[in-house]
């Protein structure tokens, strides 16, 4: 209680910092995408030094530029897939809760089915079906990650629909649309946002994994998965920096997103709201 900033202020500050860092990486990667492709054999296989903090690879490409570009790509794919996933979750969850028992049974069965298949396997299958590449990865990750959020939102809507204040609003002559706008949406929004942000780290990791395994982005693109997979053959020859820095940055990015989501959840969760 005597701390300079209270929990909520610290959470806000931390979230702002995390968001800013992620934004910076995204923009930097975007600007450096050309530099990441430049090959220069006069500087190949350099260990980390001042000019090239992350070193260079066997084709003389700057690993810092490549890492940032790869991360930037990962974040953009992550944002896209998480957004698609969350929207699918919202649609499925709300439909299951409002369109009657039969629709609920079918949709719940679909949720169980998708949940029952191991994530990585499903992502690989969908990605293959969509012809790999950018489209394949986005489809694969987006179509496999909506289930738990959909189930959460379904439960929430079911509970809200029988809440006495919603029933009372209907008795007071409020239309369905007004009830949805005034009562359902404000209650779903925090769950939805937290779910959305917590989807990012999953999406990014799975994108990197399928790409690493060769079922995702094509090898010309400087994606993190591609960088890591290529570096495998050079690791044994002592070029540790090829995998170390990109891997570390990937972990850091994922951790930042997870932190952001967790902070948000703690602020919105009634059990910890006043900490």
């Amino acid at each position: 209680m005597d701390r300079l900033l209270n929990q909520r202020q610290r959470a806000l500050l931390l979230s702002a910092f995390a968001a800013l860092a992620l934004l910076a990486v995204t923009v930097a990667g975007f600007l450096l995408s050309d530099a990441a492709m430049v090959t220069d054999f006069s500087r190949k296989n350099l260990a980390p030094c001042l000019a090239y903090p992350f070193g260079t690879d066997w084709m003389g490409r700057d690993m810092l530029a490549r890492t940032l570009t790869g991360l930037s790509l990962s974040i953009r794919i992550g944002v896209l897939t998480a957004a698609v996933s969350a929207v699918v979750a919202l649609a499925v969850g709300t439909a299951a809760a409002t369109l009657g028992r039969r629709v609920d049974a079918v949709l719940s069965w679909c949720i169980d089915l998708v949940m029952g298949i191991p994530h990585i396997l499903l992502v690989i299958l969908i990605s293959l079906a969509f012809g790999k590449g950018f489209v394949g990865v986005v489809a694969g990750v987006a179509l496999s990650h909506w289930t738990s959020l959909a189930r959460l939102l379904r439960g929430e809507v079911l509970q809200l629909r029988s809440a006495p204040y919603v029933l009372t609003a209907e008795k007071l002559g409020r239309t369905r649309l007004q009830v949805a706008r005034d009562h359902l949406l404000p209650h779903l929004l925090p769950q939805f946002l937290t779910g959305l942000i917590l989807l990012f780290p999953h999406a990014i990791l799975h994108e990197a994994s399928v790409t690493f395994l060769g079922f995702g982005l094509s090898s010309e693109q400087p994606a993190i998965g591609v960088i890591l997979s290529e570096s495998m053959s050079y690791l044994t020859t002592g070029k540790w920096w090829l995998a170390f820095f990109p891997g570390l940055m990937l972990v850091a990015t994922v951790a930042l997103f997870a932190l952001l989501g967790d902070r948000l959840r703690r602020i919105l969760d009634p059990a910890t709201i006043h900490q």
Binding site: N6, Q9, H274, Q275
Partner: protein
Amino acid sequence: MTPLLSVEHLSISFTQYDRGTRRRILPAIRDLDLTIDRGQVAAVVGSSGSGKSLLAHGILGILPYNAHMEGTITYDGAPLTPKRAAALRGREIVLVPQSVGYLDPLMKVGPQVGRDKTAVRAVLDRYGLGPETEGLYPFQLSGGMARRVLISTAVAASPALVIADEPTPGLDARAAGRILGHFRELADAGTGVLLITHDLELALTIADKVAVFYAGETVEEAPAGDFDRLEDLRHPYTRALWQALPQHGFRPIPGTQPYPGALPEGCPFAPRCPKCTSECGGDVPYRPLDGGFVRCLHPERGNAS
């Protein structure tokens, strides 16, 4: 004789977030004084949502994480520290909670009351609950049965102090009377009973003395017999309560209890009080008066000393 439990100048406040990131401190209980002797039923009466349930949680040392407690609680002659409270609760000091929500919904009643089967049988029997009750799950209990199970669970350990937090809402007059009768029996057998309720009428049916709680303070402590006649009551608020009873005129005074975040200086009842003077904006001590206590500069009974 030292009292079983004495609470002096107890205050409990909450740290809460306002909108945004601003924090504020809400004093739910500001100055609460109370003593309970062995064999006595003491009732704390206050409006619902006024924070009186926190008294129970404070004594038991189970306040939520954002609460802060000050003041002294003495149990059996020694200070009731959080450590001591933790050791005593569930054994010597027990809580009869508000609702079945406090029972484990996935466990049958029998094992929840206690481990010793014959003791469980005996205590359930005492409250008119047959052997079939032991095999039921909490959701299968009716309101009155659930209340009796809660009491059984609490007294199975033969406690010295029973704290009952709103034990009767939702029960009809007869069932409520029966439940309260069980607390009276416990007191007659030597147990101290602290009854926390919003229902003055029901409290008066079994209590030996009543403490009236208003806006975070005890404003009066009176023997239950004083509630028979309006003239015997000390504090203007207690008198207003009495006159608002359906059988005593049903006459409300205007205004509402101030919100914990927006309390006036001095006496919190002053804005609604017919006898309020400028002095009431200052410090108002809690003092003994004619066999009870009152926190008022111009009490209705006796001469201000």
